[in-house]
Structure formats: C-alpha cells, structure tokens
C-alpha cells in the first residue's frame, strides 16, 4: 500500500483488481467505484468533522465569549475585552477554590500512582485465590457512578463521625482514581517480557536493581501519563467533591455554584478557558511522552475507555 493511502483506498484498489466481484456486466463498475470512493472519503471526513465540532465547538464558543464585552452569551459581539480574565484572577473565592483543587490533585495523583502501580503489579504478576474478584473490586470505581460513590462516602463518613474536609475529598477521590492508574500500568506490564528480568538477575542484579533499572524505565511513560490523567480527573471532579467536602470549595464546585449568578457567566468562561488550555497542554504532553517512549503505552491509552470528566 502506497504512502498516504488509507485503508479504504487500499480496499478500493483490491476491488478494482477484481471488478467481477462488484458487477459482472463490467460497464457500471467504474461509476460505482467512484461513488464508493467519494462516499468513503467524504463520508469519513464529514463524520470526523461532526465529531470534531461536537467535541470542540462548545469549547470554541466558550473561548470566544470569554473575550466578549457582555455578560450575555449571544451575538452580536459587543467588543473585545480581557476584563473577565482580570475579574477571574482577582476573585478571592475563585483563587481559594483553585488552590484547593490544585492541592487536592497534587496529593491524589501521587497517591494514585503508588496504589495503582502496586495493584497493577499484584494483578499482573501474581496468581492467588480471589485474583479475579480483587481485579473486579479494583476496577469497580471505574464503572460505578461517581454521584453514588460520593453519596455513599458521605454516609460512611457521617456514620464514622468523620468531619468532612479536603482530607475526605482526597481519600474518596484516591479510591476512585487509582484504578485508572492500575489499568494503564497493567496494560504496560502485560506487554513486558519477563525474560529481561531473568536475564538481569542471572547477571547479578538484585530485585530492587531489576525494579529500578529494568521495570521502572519500561513503565515510566505509562506512569507519567497515568499521573497526568489522575491529576486532571481529580482537578475536574465535581460529584465526589460536592458530597465529601466540608465548608470549602473546589474549582468545579465554584463553577457550578457561580452559574446561578448571571453576572458570573463571563467570568466562568474566562477561567474555564485558562484551565482548559492548561489541561490540553498537560494531556498533549502526556500523549507525546507516550509516543516518544514506545508504542505500547500509547496503544494502552488509546484503547482505554476514558471517562466523562467535568467540563469546567
């Protein structure tokens, strides 16, 4: 298959080589192929265009209106302004919410890396009774609705007489986020050839040296990507935070409570634009790191069902 030829075009070439499979009369074949080819090309482009617009259209509107000199999200534009950005950066409650979200995410992400990696090792390296059940238990937070997890956690903390605070947010978010790390790291470990470990041990390495010089370099891209995803999951989380937080605010909670105030709409647009930009850069860096350090991690990431995150 030539350079620049996609799978669809390759299929068409194969069909041209065997026109009898399409039409035994022969005369209508070129037209059918042209239509097929056009449908293939424009159909896919159209589909991708719709997906692209659905995903990024609302974000583009949000960015555009964050510079509009009006609190109302409607055309015509009233002029360009950056005052919503200034207001956003001057708002003390917003600053506090951002600091809280960042602090929580900076604690949750490393905790998840440790727990998720340990779970991945346990599930991929060892055979023990109840391994399937343990795997299911570890993966459960990935499929359970976070709203239910949040309410259940709140009930648990209330029964245990634990005061709600950022600590309870961190604990609950960690439990729900470390399975993501487990999924990513486990995918990488499954592809690891253990013969490399055996060779290293044969050559005199200790177990710790094998871990440091053989295994960790292999899973490092996956760990980096998992860490960034754990961070953004935590930072964007609304459902769990809303139910397990005490008398503080995180950024998603601030956004949700602010949209009630129509004057805040433009400020929310401005700060959401900034946050989205930072997160896009982080995720881009994670994917780039995966691709540059070997394909398996990237494959694992692209094959993994990503959860819906809170759109800030």
């Amino acid at each position: 298959m030539g350079r620049g030829m996609d799978r669809g075009e390759g299929l068409l070439v194969a069909q041209v080589a065997h026109p009898v499979r399409l039409d035994t009369t022969g005369s209508a074949v070129p037209g059918a192929i042209r239509i097929h080819r056009a449908l293939n090309r424009w159909g896919w482009r159209g589909f991708l265009g719709i997906v692209f617009l659905t995903l990024f259209g609302p974000l583009a509107i949000l960015v555009a209106f964050s510079f509009n000199d009006s609190t109302i999200l409607a055309f015509p534009f009233e002029g360009l302004t950056t005052k919503w950005y200034s207001l956003a950066l001057q708002d003390p409650s917003l600053r506090e919410a951002l600091v809280n979200s960042t602090a929580v995410a900076f604690i949750v992400a490393p905790l998840c890396l440790v727990l998720g990696t340990l779970a991945a090792f346990g599930l991929t390296r060892f055979r023990f009774r109840g391994r399937g059940a343990t795997g299911g238990l570890v993966g459960a937070p990935l499929v359970l609705p976070w709203l239910i997890v949040g309410i259940a956690a709140l009930m648990g903390y209330a029964k245990a007489n634990i005061d709600l605070s950022l600590k309870t947010v961190i604990a609950t978010q960690t439990i729900c986020t470390f399975p993501l790390v487990t999924a990513i790291v486990a995918a990488q470990l499954f592809r690891f050839q253990r013969v490399q470990e055996e060779a290293a041990i044969d050559l005199g390495c200790s177990r710790l040296e094998v871990l440091r010089h053989i295994i960790l370099p292999h899973i490092a891209p996956a760990l980096a990507a998992a860490g960034i995803f754990a961070f953004t999951w935590s930072f964007n989380n609304y459902e769990i935070s809303a139910f397990t937080i005490g008398f503080q605010q995180t950024f998603p909670i601030w956004v949700y409570s602010s949209v009630r105030n129509p004057d805040h709409t433009a400020v929310v647009n401005a700060i959401s634009t900034l946050i989205s930009a930072v997160q896009v850069v982080l995720i881009y860096l994670a994917l780039r790191m995966l691709r540059s350090r070997g394909g398996t991690g990237a494959i694992a990431m692209t094959e993994m069902p990503l959860p819906v995150t809170e759109t800030s």
Partner: protein, 365 residues
C-alpha cells in the same frame, strides 16, 4: 519482592485511611472564643446556602457586626442537591431554602428545627404574605425566616411587543408563535397554564383541571421556541432576538436593558407567582446563639437594602421600602408587590408528582 509490595500496599492504604480519619478530631469545634465580647455570639457557625447567600460584599455588615463569629460556608446548586447531601449526613447550623423549591419538604423531612420566635428580632416586620407561605410555618411553628423574594411575570421586548402585555394569555398570542418562551419549572409552567385557563387557584386544581391545563399547553406547544432553564438562557434568547416574550423576573429586564435590549417587565392581571427564599436552623445546630444572630442579620435593614439594590430582590422586611430609591423599588418589583394580594405562592402543590408528569408530557409533545 511480592512481600515488599504487599507491605507497601498495606502502608499506603493505612496512610490514606489515617489521613481521612484524622479529621475526626477536628479543631473546628464551635466552642466560644475566650477573647470574645461578653454576651456577643461567637465561635464557628456553619452555613449551607446558595452561593449568593454568602457573597462577600453582601456579608460585609455581618462580619462587622459579629467579628467573633467564624462563619464557614458551603454552597449547593439546588435545594434537591441540598436535601440529598443533608439526608446523607452533611451537617450545618443554618440552612437556606426556597419555598418554591423545597422548604416544606425539608420541614417534613426533619431537616429544619422549629424556631423560637422570641429570638427572631425582625419577625414582626416580615411581610404577612411571606409568613403564610408553605413551609415558613407548619402546624403553628415557624421554621424559616424569609429573607428575599421575587415575582414572576411577563418579560417582553418592547421594540417588538409594542402593546404591553397584561395577561398570561398574551404569552399564548398566535402573533408570537415560535418566539415565546417559558421557564422550565413544572410548578411555574403549570401555574401559568392554569391562570391562562381561568383557574384562579392553581394550587387547588382538581385532576380534571390539571388535564385541561396539560392539554392546553400541549395544544400550544409550538408557541414556544424554548423552555428556558436559567438566566443566561433567556437573556441570550432575548438578545439574539429568538424570543420576544417570556415568563421571567423583573431583574432580567433590568439586566437586558443594560445590554441594549429594550426589555420590560409586566405583571399579569391573573396573578404573579411569588418565590421566597429564607433561612432556618438545623436540628443538629451546635451554635444556636450564632445561628439566631445570622437569621436576625439576614432580615435586618443593611442586608435587605443591599439585596434590593444589588440583587434586585423583593425584601422580606416591610420597613426597608422607605429606605430604598424609587429606581430600586421598581427594579426589585416592590412597587407592584404591595401587600401581595394577587401573589400566588410558587410552592410545590400536594400532588407535585402529577404536575411534574404533566409538564414532562407537555415538553415531550
């Protein structure tokens, strides 16, 4: 290797649990500050409210008046969310709710404690019509101190709708077909449909009357371009010209005029829907002195004047009207509120589920 990993996993899990549990011995106890002024409320006070209930500028006079109270705040996005969180175990001293959303439900679910009226300094100055709203008083006991209110009427673009509307029927005028909008709240929407059908007491509707209203709204479904869900929605639709007449609130008209849209607010002759929000005390309240201080502050003159001038709310304290400018009175709707003789409490009816089902059917038609 495997043993080390197991030990590490155990240590990490225990560390996480310890981090969560360590907050149990909180240092946020509401014990009075030893340095507080004698007799003045002090200590920690936990407020659970819509975020505008603790807007820093709004609360300025509270912090000045009660410097020894450490106010901790948590916000919710709706009363339904607040109920879910409170029932799951969240604890606060003072809780905000709105009569049109869930005050009565919260009273019935035991989330509010009866108030000691003798400790409510401004109770006698509250509008009698607000005191009579469902949930404010139940079985002769007071549960909520109304703080602010508003009336729903007809919002219209005076450049297009040149004859000011006077009736809810104007919302169904065929000349505005496809350019009208109504708020997507079952209670408000069914109320409007009932009033447009000549039913003067929507909250006491029979099942047949509810069916009549539902069918009327279904027949006029195409009249409405949208059913708006929030201020941002309806203001965008007015500004873009998609909608020229809608159910709405006086402050929306003011905000739209600032944006160059000639929006006006009209009171429907059949009645105006009155929403009211206020504050009550939780049965789990740990700092009652501070809680009553906050309730008294909300219904006192300074925050009431602020709410009328900055938020365009109708004040619950009758005496505040004399202190407001003519413009503030008009913008908040106090000029048409009067004694609220034609106000219909926007409160959930007894057969709320039937109303919700009827409205869902209308939207799906």
């Amino acid at each position: 290797m495997s043993k080390r990993i197991r030990v590490l996993a155990l240590v990490a899990t225990l560390a996480m649990l310890a981090a969560a549990c360590s907050s149990g011995g909180s240092d946020d106890s509401p014990s009075p500050d030893p340095g507080a002024s004698p007799g003045a409320p002090s200590g920690t006070l936990r407020l659970f409210s819509y975020s505008d209930g603790f807007d820093p500028a709004y609360m300025t006079t509270f912090y000045e008046q009660y410097p020894d109270i450490d106010l901790e705040t948590a916000s919710f996005g709706s009363n339904d969310e607040a109920i879910a969180k409170l029932q799951a175990g969240f604890q606060a001293d003072v809780i905000n709710s709105c009569v049109d959303e869930a005050t009565l439900e919260m009273v019935n679910k035991g989330l509010y404690a009866p108030l000691d009226v003798s400790r409510l300094e401004n109770w006698d100055d509250i509008w009698p019509s607000m005191k009579a709203l469902p949930g404010v008083q139940v079985d002769g006991k007071v549960y909520l101190v109304p703080a602010d209110a508003g009336t729903a009427g007809i919002l219209y673009n005076a450049d297009v709708v040149t004859t000011p509307p006077t009736s809810w029927l104007d919302l169904f005028d065929p000349q505005w077909a496809g350019r009208a909008s109504m708020e997507d709240i079952s209670v408000t929407a069914i109320d409007i449909g009932a009033l447009a059908n000549g039913i003067s007491d929507p909250l006491s509707m029979t099942t047949d009357q509810l069916d009549q209203v539902k069918n009327y709204l279904i027949d006029h479904r195409d009249q409405f371009r949208t059913f708006w869900k929030g201020a941002a929605d309806i203001k965008s639709q007015f500004k873009s010209g998609e909608v020229v007449i809608a159910s709405g609130y006086p402050d929306y008209a003011k905000q739209l005029r600032k944006e160059g849209v000639n929006a006006q607010f009209a009171v429907a002759k059949e009645g105006q829907m009155l929403w009211t929000c206020g504050y009550g005390i939780s049965p789990d309240a740990e700092n009652l002195d501070a809680a009553y201080a906050l309730l008294n502050w909300y219904s006192s003159v300074p925050p009431q004047v602020y709410a009328a001038t900055e938020f365009d709310y109708i004040t619950s304290n009758m005496t505040v009207g004399d202190l407001l400018s003519k413009e503030a009175i008009e913008d908040s709707g106090l000029d048409t509120f009067g004694e609220a003789e034609n106000a219909i409490p926007a409160s959930p009816p007894n057969d709320r589920e039937a109303w919700v089902a009827a409205w869902t059917e209308v939207k799906a038609s």
